[in-house]
């Protein structure tokens, strides 16, 4: 069994075991932590053993799975997907720690659901077979639906249904697209074969939109983003963290793995359309975030704006843009996860997410406020933090392609700073607003530990992003070469 299989099945099987066997909450917590750490440890050799010099798939595993449809259990990672595997496992560790004392109801099910979800998401990033990808992609809906619905807030049922049906609507059309590609390629579900498949323009356009719908809902792009604020607000803290840190990236990753290389001509043809939607997300959603009363909603809208930045970077077809988008995805994984954890820390104490319910938190929780401000700074893209690197690369790439597009995209630095810092000002600074805030106790060792881990990651990536960009360099180059070559059949 290869490393990737281990990274997928270790958390899934342990999660199932937790669901089936463990009843005692204490045992469930420790087992979940042990599994999450072990799964993370499994992903580390992927980083150390990764060869930056090739765009070929690495750590490949390939077995027959369903012979009738020529489906293979085919895994592998390249520079585009490498970092998301350890990121997923890392965030799962954080999620398990964050739920330690907070979740008291059906602990084994909570932990089991997150472990299963973690394995499925690694599967999405590692799958090189179209059907295998789809199975993992869809299966992630099931645990997330239950997480939002069982442990969520007052409107959890509405949010869970909206999340599920929106995502399913998008991905079902992708299923038809996959079957169509299977037919066109003469009976193959192999993604790498599809990359080389010549396709006429109208077929490319149809495929492009089928994929676009699936991934745009998942990213989410304006105007199919409305499920995200609801899902984030109602999900428990761990659910929000995973949703923002990893699940949104599944959509972005889909663009790189499917849309761009399989339908390059359609991607070029419709690039302006995607760029327009992305910039609307950056600017308009930035304004929307500014007026939010609810902290989680604010961070949710901020995520949409940041993801708009990512898709914008992808569709300017420059090395800086695509790498910048990828770096932004990773950094957003750390930063948004941390932001939601901070909100969770406050919510556990005061049971409110309203910005107006707070004020002057720094006076009673100085250690916590230091972390929160750091993450907020990273969210607005302060140099030296992870948030800066990706945004800077994308803007640089955009200005080289088209100055005005770069200018519009760069406004994110202003809006991002505006809505994030204004929230920070209202929540953390100023005088102590009410007796709830006055009675707050600072974070304990567990909370300190998980926030410190994330803070270290955010700073490390901000100061020294080279390992990330080095790993993706060759693969991004190769992707752009593929996209530059027309796949239209010769006339």
């Amino acid at each position: 069994m290869g490393l990737l299989s281990l990274a997928i099945w270790l958390p899934i099987l342990s999660g199932v075991a937790l669901l089936a066997v463990v009843r005692d909450p204490g045992t469930a917590r420790w087992l979940a932590l042990a599994t999450a750490l072990a799964s993370f440890a499994v992903t580390l050799p992927l980083i150390s053993g990764f060869d930056n010099g090739t765009a070929a798939m690495q750590f490949v595993e390939r077995f027959d799975w369903i012979e009738r449809f020529n489906v293979h259990y085919h895994l592998g990672i390249d520079g585009l997907s490498l970092w998301f595997v350890p990121l997923t496992a890392f965030i799962t560790v954080i999620v398990v720690i964050s739920a330690w004392e907070v979740i008291t109801d059906r602990v084994n099910q909570y932990m089991g659901a997150f472990l299963i979800l973690s394995g499925l998401m690694v599967g999405v990033f590692a799958a090189l077979d179209g059907l295998l990808f789809y199975v993992f992609f869809e299966a992630t809906l099931i645990p997330m639906y239950l997480i939002i619905g069982v442990w969520g807030g007052p409107r959890r049922v509405y949010a869970a249904f909206k999340f599920f049906l929106y995502t399913l609507a998008g991905s079902l059309l992708m299923l038809v697209a996959l079957i169509f590609l299977y037919y066109k390629s003469g009976g193959s579900f192999d993604i790498l074969t599809w990359h080389k498949l010549p396709l006429p323009m109208n077929a490319q356009s149809l495929l492009f939109f089928a994929f676009f719908l699936a991934f745009a809902v998942k990213v989410p792009m304006w105007p199919v983003h409305t499920w995200l604020p609801d899902a984030h607000v109602e999900a428990p803290t761990g659910g929000s963290v995973v949703l923002a840190a990893i699940m949104l990236k599944l959509g972005c990753y889909g663009f790189l793995r499917f849309s761009l290389p399989i339908t390059p001509d359609a991607s070029h043809h419709w690039a302006h359309f995607v760029i327009a939607l992305s910039l609307i997300a950056v600017v308009y959603i930035g304004f929307v975030a500014l007026v939010q009363q609810d902290m989680k909603k604010l961070v949710a809208y901020s995520s949409i704006a940041h993801m708009g930045f990512v898709t914008f970077g992808f569709f300017i077809f420059s090395e800086l843009g695509v790498s910048g988008g990828l770096v932004q995805m990773i950094s957003h994984g750390f930063v948004s996860g941390a932001m939601f954890l901070c909100i969770g820390v406050l919510y556990d104490r005061v049971h409110s997410r309203e910005i107006a319910a707070y004020g002057g938190v720094v006076n009673t929780m100085p250690k916590f406020a230091a972390f929160a401000v750091l993450f907020a700074m990273a969210n607005c893209g302060l140099p030296g933090t992870a948030g800066f690197v990706g945004e800077w690369m994308v803007i640089l790439g955009a200005v080289k392609t088209n100055f005005w597009l770069g200018l519009i995209a760069a406004t994110t630095l202003i809006f991002g700073a505006a809505y994030t810092l204004w929230m920070v000002k209202r929540v953390y600074f100023g005088a102590v607003a009410n007796h709830h805030v006055g009675e707050l106790t600072d974070i304990n060792a567990r909370e300190f530990g998980m926030l410190a881990l994330l803070a270290a990651a955010v700073l490390a990536m901000g100061v020294y992003p080279k390992p990330f960009t080095d790993a993706m360099h060759v693969s991004v180059d190769n992707l752009l070469k593929q996209v530059a070559v027309s796949k239209l059949p010769a006339l």
């Binding site: 669901l19 069982v150 869970a160 249904f161 079902l172 059309l173 079957i179 299977y182």
Partner: protein
């Protein structure tokens, strides 16, 4: 030509003999739960299942009874699944009916007779044999639905089922008689040859096909011949709902293949259009009306209408522009669909019985509230069933939908590709009501705190049933291959 070939019909003979023996033996049984009758029935069914399995493995196509009957791998495979379905149904049903004072020997005798009818239909090579099998199955089921005779709903359901079922049989018989009149033969392969000559008045045959499709539509429960399905599923005792919602679907599928494909492939361009209409109508009405249901059995009935619509799509795509294109794969996808649908349906109705107790029928969706707290295990099993019906990976329902969609897209005809998109959109609507069941089980608080009482065998079979839905979802290849083999052999003759 005139051979009798008795071995080909041994399973049917065993069923006939044992149905009579069970009826006799039951007269002497005094056990309050009728354990001897039950065990004898299960043992006979197990023998029949083994005989089908053995014959399927042999893989031969044998004509018997002077070509009235054909024993081919498709018949044996479906016969095996139908027998297993009846066995599982009886496992779920036995404690349920025993607690409600409905446990008479008739339950077992009539189930055996209905299975005999199914068996006859599966291996029919002659219009009259199909009709005989259909009537034997239907009459047994009418009586079973009416088993709870002091109950108004059940009586109403039985009347409805009887009147509409008789009408459907009439339609089918009328259509068959027209085909006989036009082609001069009752034998399916002779009819096929006669149509192939192109000498026959087409208008008579098309009229015949219309009536045949209507009759089949009734039996499958496809729109617009679906009216009986919700009332009968809801009104019949759940044990009987299980018996008529499971194995008979396999028989209806088999005679559809025998009549439309093996017999009237020459008219495919005509029946194909009718099936497309039935199919889209069923998916549309089934999925949308199911949303409005609060009764679980009724919701599952509408869900079955929608699922049958999806299954019919696979039958449509075998023939394009009157050319047979990879037909084996298309029909096999439908067969895979219906087999896995029956597997899942056994579980869902079994769950309704498992959660019921004397004096309380867990028929409303609300009765499942908080099941995840009362019994996490069965909530999980039910969740697997629901996701399978909704067609989500990694359950078997996903591959069933996938293979049907694949057969549609592979035709490379724009109309069929749009049909695939429509099917996908409609199954998205369907996902809503399956999700609602999961919502009730996981997100709502229990309203009923009484413990769930069930026998160990029911628990074990239910768990196996759920595991099978999941296991075929992770490794669907084997079952798919079996279906393809069976269909290819059936088409080759």
């Amino acid at each position: 030509m005139n051979q009798m070939n008795w071995p080909a019909v041994y399973p049917a003979i065993v069923l006939l003999a044992m149905a009579c023996v069970v009826a006799m033996v039951d007269l002497w049984v005094t056990h309050p739960k009728r354990l001897p009758t039950y065990l004898l029935t299960q043992a006979s069914l197990a023998v029949v299942a083994l005989m089908h399995l053995w014959a399927f493995n042999a893989g031969d196509t044998v004509y018997a009874m002077q070509r009235m009957v054909v024993a081919d791998p498709m018949g044996h495979l479906l016969g095996l699944f139908a027998t297993l379905a009846v066995m599982v149904s009886l496992v779920y049903a036995q404690p349920y009916v025993a607690e409600r004072d409905m446990l008479k020997g008739e339950l077992f005798t009539l189930s055996l007779f209905s299975l005999l009818g199914i068996d006859v239909m599966l291996s029919a090579n002659n219009f009259l044999v199909i009709y005989l099998g259909l009537e034997l199955m239907s009459l047994s089921l009418y009586a079973l639905v009416a088993m709870r005779r002091d109950h108004a709903d059940a009586t109403e359901a039985a009347m409805k089922y009887f009147v509409l079922g008789a009408l459907a049989s009439g339609f089918l018989l009328y259509g068959l008689s027209m085909m006989y009149g036009a082609t001069g033969s009752l034998e399916i392969s002779e009819v096929f040859k006669a149509i192939g000559t192109g000498q026959i008045n087409k208008s008579v045959m098309i009229l015949g096909v219309v009536f045949i499709v209507a009759g089949l539509g009734f039996k499958l429960g496809a729109v617009p011949f679906h009216m009986w399905v919700p009332d009968v599923y809801q009104g019949a005792p759940t044990a009987v709902t299980l018996l008529l919602g499971g194995a008979p679907k396999l028989a209806a599928f088999a005679i559809t293949i025998r009549l439309l494909v093996e017999g009237m492939l020459g008219l495919a361009g005509d029946w194909q259009q009718m099936l497309v209409v039935l199919s889209v109508g069923s998916m549309l009405l089934g999925n949308i009306v199911a949303i409005a249901q609060s009764n679980l059995k009724r919701m599952l009935a509408y869900s079955s209408i929608a699922q049958m619509g999806f299954m019919l799509l696979g039958l449509c795509s075998g023939v394009v522009y009157d050319n047979t294109i990879s037909a084996g794969n298309s029909y096999a996808s439908s067969m895979f669909y219906i087999v896995t649908y029956v597997l899942t349906t056994l579980g869902t109705f079994g769950m309704v019985m498992l959660l019921s107790r004397p004096g309380f029928e867990a028929e409303e969706i609300g009765d499942l509230a908080g099941l995840a707290k009362r019994s996490p295990w069965f909530a999980l099993v039910m969740t697997i069933f629901m996701f399978s019906l909704a067609g989500l990976p990694p359950t078997v329902g996903f591959y069933a939908k996938l293979s049907v969609l694949q057969s549609l897209v592979s035709t490379n005809v724009p109309g069929f590709v749009y049909l695939a998109v429509a099917a996908v959109v409609l199954s998205l609507i369907g996902a809503y009501y399956y999700l609602r069941v999961i919502k009730v089980m996981y997100f709502d608080e229990p309203v009923d705190s009484r413990p769930i009482v069930s026998t160990p065998s029911v628990r074990a079979v239910m768990s196996l049933n759920g595991a099978a839905v999941l296991a075929f979802g992770i490794l669907p290849g084997g079952l798919m291959t079996l279906c393809v083999q069976a269909i290819v052999k059936a088409l080759a003759t």
